[in-house]
């Protein structure tokens, strides 16, 4: 009876078929549009490379473990999404051959050292100059060095620069695999026992999450769940849209050939111990079951 009523109800619905002509008109219009000029394509590519380079630099710094803090690194990263960039030290000496850089050394003249150690990074002199922002004259002498320091301990305050990249996504998706429709069997829709509890949250009082914080969470989830889908090869992006007291709310996207599609909405606990798919129930609420913790797979 349910099936009969549901079918008849849907058969009762009459779509606006005039939309078909509109679709073809739109398709015609878009096919006439001028192609994107090459110069803009080049500019976009350069901008993308710069964004990736800045992101990479940002996360390399976050890979360094805090030296004066017993808190786990992930927790510190979440609490300190903003980055302070200080330019204070001038290094006069340059040693031949490889050498060890220790940015926490007293050379900086700042014993309080809110900075982190860059431990045992072996690089060649020329590369070291570049890494530390030195400018080198023609005869090889070092004129000036500026050291970039990124403190991430909780005590730090008054950030002077924020570094964090929010992925720019296009909306699209497509299914690439053909489905074989083979007909249904009688007993295939059996009851499946439920596990886990259902939880619900309101979206009304979400607080915003800074881009840098969102970016850090994205990188952690990528490291936990992988960079891409094993089947489609699409790159995973975890976009945080807000948080309440102890839960982040986000959108899990998959980017294929520059186009993104939504994989699912999710919630993740602020200690990064659990992540669940969630569903919008309407009326400004979402719900999820704690049956499948995606971070435990």
């Amino acid at each position: 009876m349910f099936k009969k009523y549901y079918k008849e109800a849907n058969d009762n619905i009459q779509p606006n078929r005039a939309l078909i002509d509109k679709i073809f008109e739109e398709a015609e219009k878009s096919s006439v549009r001028k192609p994107f000029p090459k110069v803009y394509k080049f500019g976009t590519a350069v901008a993308a490379v710069l964004v990736l380079a800045v992101s990479a630099g940002y996360f390399i710094h976050f890979d360094v473990e805090p030296s004066q803090n017993n808190k786990p690194q992930l927790a510190v990263e979440i609490q300190n999404p903003k980055v302070t960039v200080e330019t204070e030290n001038k290094q006069e000496e340059k040693k031949a051959g490889s050498e060890t850089i220790n940015s926490d050394e007293a050379k900086r003249g700042n014993d309080e050292s809110k900075t982190h150690k860059k431990e045992d990074v072996q690089i060649a002199p020329k590369e070291q100059n570049n890494a530390e922002g030195q400018t080198t004259t023609d005869n090889g002498k070092t004129k000036k060095t500026e050291t970039v320091v990124i403190p991430i301990t909780p005590e730090n305050e008054a950030p002077s620069a924020e570094v964090g990249q929010e992925p720019v996504l296009a909306m699209a998706n497509e299914a690439e695999q053909p489905a074989a429709f083979s007909g249904r069997t009688v007993n295939e829709a059996e009851e499946v026992p439920e596990n886990g509890e259902t939880e619900e949250a309101s979206l009304e009082n979400l607080t915003e999450v800074a881009d840098a914080e969102s970016s850090v969470i994205n990188s952690m989830l990528v490291s936990a769940l992988g960079e891409s889908d094993g089947d489609s090869g699409g790159q995973y992006v975890f976009e945080i849209v807000g948080k309440n007291e102890d839960i982040y709310f986000g959108i899990w996207k998959e980017v294929n050939d520059g186009e993104s599609s939504l994989k699912s909405d999710f919630v993740v606990t602020s200690d990064m111990s659990a992540m669940y798919e969630c569903e919008h129930t309407g009326n400004g609420k979402i719900h999820w079951t704690t049956e499948e913790n995606l971070l435990l797979d």
Partner: protein, 165 residues
Amino acid sequence: MFGNTHKIENNNSKRETVEKFFDMIYKLALSQTKDRDSADDVVQEVFLRFLKSDKVFESDEHIKAWLIRVTINCSHNVFSNSWAQKTTPLTEDIVFDTEEKGDVYYAVLELPQKYRAVIHLFYYEDMSIDEIAKTLRSNSSTVKSQLSRGRKMLREKLEGGYGLV
């Protein structure tokens, strides 16, 4: 010359395809978005992607699967665009000739989105669990579980369940 002829034939073929699947996609989109305007937007977006796509489809079933998946994703994106201020409208301008049809239809609309999709494909499109799983790139067990939970919710909403097994 040959190229133009080929293009016209191709366009005619695509128009036939759009007309063939238009109703199905619209009803699926409406069940997902619960709003006629949003459903129109989704349908337009889905078929525009289809028309622009250079993808080679092996069969009508392949096209159908592709369209269903893109429809569900586009519907999802409609939701995600207003994630933080989500107040889902419930379409109430559809008039049914019997009370039972209205009860059943609106009960399905009140389900969470992923259950609605599975219930719609199973009960309206007569797709099997395996077919739904392949179309949505999901596991059969997941689809089975969603179908089961969807039905459980429907039984609670529809007292008596209209014979829902």
